[in-house]
Symmetry: C2
Subunit: 94 residues, 2 copies
């Protein structure tokens, strides 16, 4: 969970996720939306991948990134655990 929350704690990374929500995108296309260098973007994408929030697939010269929505289920569950006062008492955090 720590990787996930850390990954979500940056505005640029959240913006990337929002972009990918609409459609799968190549790195270059994402880059045009983000006022940072390609190197910085690569760094952010690495962090998102590490948290399993995005998937990447090499397509020839390009790399296409997509949202991995399954992981968000874990986050939702974590929040529900916090929110629901009377219940199974949430599992471990990390």
């Amino acid at each position: 969970m720590n990787n996930i929350f850390k990954a979500l704690a940056d505005p640029n990374r959240r913006k990337i996720l929002k972009l990918l929500r609409e459609k799968d995108m190549f790195v270059g296309d994402i880059l045009e939306n983000l006022n940072i260098t390609g190197a910085s973007l690569s760094h952010h994408l690495q962090i998102l991948k590490n948290a399993d929030l995005v998937l990447s697939e090499k397509k020839g010269q390009y790399v296409e990134y997509s949202l991995n929505t399954t992981v968000f289920q874990d986050v939702l569950k974590w929040i529900y655990d916090i929110t629901d006062k009377d219940d199974p008492k949430g599992g471990k955090d990390e």
Copy 2:
């Protein structure tokens, strides 16, 4: 939203939230669960308060902290926005 995600991006702070899920607590009681100094804890509580994730009430010599579950609704909404591909297209992030 940035304050919230930043606040959630630390294990100790998430642990505090889990503790408060069970019951309202005084700072000292929280402290016993956390292998950090009181000063550090104060710092974390400040960040959580700033994100509106917790509320505090002075009770004599003590300060009692409690979970403010309403804010989690915003996080849930944010995640739903990300998750639901076809829909109003989420509002601004910050």
